[in-house]
Amino acid sequence: QNVSVEVLDHLEHLALVDFRDAEGVERLQKAIQFADQLHEVNTDGVEPMDSVLEDRCLYLREDDVTEGNCTKELLENAKEKVEEYFVAPPGNIPLPKLGERETFLQGS
């Protein structure tokens, strides 16, 4: 099955990825097909593994102040700053809707 244009558009909004062209979409389709192979295995009663770290020990740090105080360094990366604040647009600028932006994805 193909991934619908609605889902592709939704993903572009959420993740700000750009599928760019048919090849990009095809790569996604292949990735889904690859993962779908999992359905061939009977996983009834098996706890899903969500990380290969599941048997590792989660290291606990002592509550000491060991970093920070590097305002100058952090602000070096900022395109714009005001005193020592980062500057951002007044709110989120959402991706324009499907019909209103340049994308190879066709509207339904």
């Binding site: 770290l53 020990c57 105080n69 647009p89 959402p94």
Partner: protein
Amino acid sequence: LAPWVPVVGLEIHAQISSNSKLFSGSQVQFAAPPNSLVSFFDASLPGTLPVLNRRCVEAAVMTGLALNCSINKKSLFDRKHYFYADLPAGYQITQQRVPIAVNGSLSYSLCIDNKMSQMVTKTVRIKQIQLEQDSGKSLHDDTRNQTLVDLNRAGVGLMEVVMEPDMCCGEEAAAAVRELQLILQTLGSSQAVMAEGQLRVDANVSVHHPGEPYGVRTEVKNINSIRFLAKAIDYEIQRQIEELENGGTILNETRAFDSKLGCTISMRDKEGKQDYRFMPEPNLPPLILYDAKSLPANMNHQQVINIDWIHERLPDLPSVKREKLVEQYGVLPEHSFTLLNEDGLAEFFENVVKQTQMKPKKVIGWILQDLLSYLKQHSLTVKESPVSPSLLADLLNLLEKKEISSTAAKQVLAELWKGEGKTPLEIVKEQKLQLLEDQKELEQICQAVIDRQENE
């Protein structure tokens, strides 16, 4: 008209009281120069990784135990994705699948009809407590059409406490939050000062007719005090009832409380419903907690958190403290509530009781009426009181030994409030307030008064 049943649930974010942040070693402090308490990880620079702060886990376990929760010996971290300028990583690390504590309860008390003498106890179920990161702060500069971002708060540890929709009005919600605040402060897991953003409450509100399914709920945000919490909820309940009675519908939306106008305003997002695309946090293994039985023999102590060890060291919770005050001193239950409601007042009371022969049941009147009303009138905290427990005890001793009358005692107290350093005895002598017991002296005075009357 069929009656309406309002339903109120709460999501409370309490900032964890710790020196450093949840996943990094930068400092936690209110009001510091912008972006001075930010590490590379907090700024989400590439190549940085989260490292869990032990103190934050202990704070969450303490809070879970105090709220009668089951502590999950294995809990997991997840990423919650959304875009906002004060969330540099583009996701928040939280516990969506398996949080650290679940299925607890909180008991709180309400006065019926505003009469403190008639208190009723209610319970609200705690759905869960989860550990998560706080975001940075956005300052909106409307004149220049921009947002200024300070990441000092980004990454500070939060405990999100989710209360089931067992409440029915603003008053209940306010009482529940107040009790939670006292518990957190007693535990020390959060200082829970709402004015400093250490305790933030969002309310979920809906209404329905009895017997019918629950109505559509709205989420009310931007509530900055317990007083406003009650107002915001009651306003929203009324708004929904009026809307529905006028044939309208309620939208499942987020509304902001405007404290100046006393109403809630729609915050409807132009981007539509959020899809947070939750996924396991790949950089953090599961959080494993132990108890006395499961304690591993050969692990470094610093790496082990023992739930039983923490349980044994929990301080007396407010409800227990109140019972002890009633039992030990014979004061009324409603007195114990007031004593615990003012920071330091219970200690003040106990200090006075220790230093005076006057019975606690009599002392309490002086504490709750005279002392507390003076403090309230002058907007002072107990710690700022110019009258110390010793001074008050001295005064009450004079009264108890019948060296002065109670009217005189009130006069002396009024003088003590000036904080001029005089002792009660000095004031009594200065103002000649001693009770006279000498029969002859009394006769002389009475005779003098009678004589004066005859001459007028």
